[in-house]
Symmetry: C2
Subunit: 187 residues, 2 copies
């Protein structure tokens, strides 16, 4: 490689991800990313096809990290404890990456990005299978994920406006859902 590269795809993705979280999706400009990595905007196109391609790369990066976080949380052997740890890790990750987390589930934004998050479901399915039994694994997992994702999304959107304790609502919901898992009974 002649003429030492002043940046890299990884650096661009990292800078983009950082700016994305910091300023929001609309405010993420190629110029700002370029400045952050120390080149001019057009040079970014040597590494990245387009702005939306940069979004795709960023969200893949986020999804990979989320997958790793979930895998790490599911190591105790007890399915209920694992599930509690995974939901907590999931919510914590979303709180740490609110913008990109929200973007991961935006229909338009990145076709294929959600595909990657499927990998995250492997550990969850294994745990839920123990709790709900093989017949109900998929719908039970979808119930849990839907609840967790919906709760977090509304939380991040500021949709819980009626007062009350949001933490308590989270605990309440998780207890309710765990309590009703068909296979076993209680948490």
């Amino acid at each position: 490689m002649p003429a030492h590269a002043q940046t890299s795809t990884a650096a661009i993705v990292a800078a983009g991800r950082h700016l994305l979280e910091e300023r929001g999706a609309d405010a993420l400009t190629m110029q700002d990313v370029a400045e952050a990595v120390g080149v001019r905007a057009p040079s970014l196109y040597k590494r990245v096809r387009s702005r939306s391609d940069l979004f795709r790369l960023i969200l893949e990066d986020v999804a990979d990290e989320l997958t790793a976080s979930l895998d790490a949380a599911a190591g105790s052997g007890d399915p209920v404890a694992d599930l509690r740890a995974m939901t907590a890790a999931y919510r914590g990750f979303a709180h740490s990456n609110p913008v990109t987390y929200t973007l991961m589930f935006a229909p338009d934004s990145v076709p294929g990005a959600t595909a990657r998050s499927v990998r995250s479901s492997a550990a969850l399915l294994r745990v839920v299978a123990e709790l709900a039994g093989p017949q109900h694994t998929l719908p039970a997992a979808r119930t849990i994920v839907a609840w967790a994702h919906g709760f977090i999304t509304m939380e991040l959107a500021g949709a819980f406006r009626l007062g009350g304790d949001v933490e308590q609502a989270w605990d309440f919901g998780l207890d309710q859902i765990l309590a009703v898992m068909p296979g076993r009974s209680r948490a």
Copy 2:
């Protein structure tokens, strides 16, 4: 009012809403909206402060319609039946308005738009109070809404990729959540 107006705020909002659903948020341009209502783009600014203001108006329109839909669904008197009807109406509305529905819960997009959806919660809270008892009303309602919203969001985002019957998963989740409501017992 001199020189008969060629358009109106309502027409602009309606056209914008239609284009928004049809082409997605990124593709909604002021020029397209102007063309749809029969004027030039700058004339829109006589009625609408900015593009983001147009988004706000559109989402208010959507939220009002959703609220009316939910109110209409909750008239049977039986709380379980009402709750089933409301969740079905909610999901149906989201399926009919996928883009705007998703946008309603986007944190950035429109500060205050979520506030309006609070009005929608009045009917829900009344029903849930009967099912879960006064102490658990708020967390129980949040559990239901979080689940429904999460499920619908993932559905719209195409996040249910592992096969299986999505309808069955919806029914399963709703049954599970209804079954565990503290106040009464079964659906």
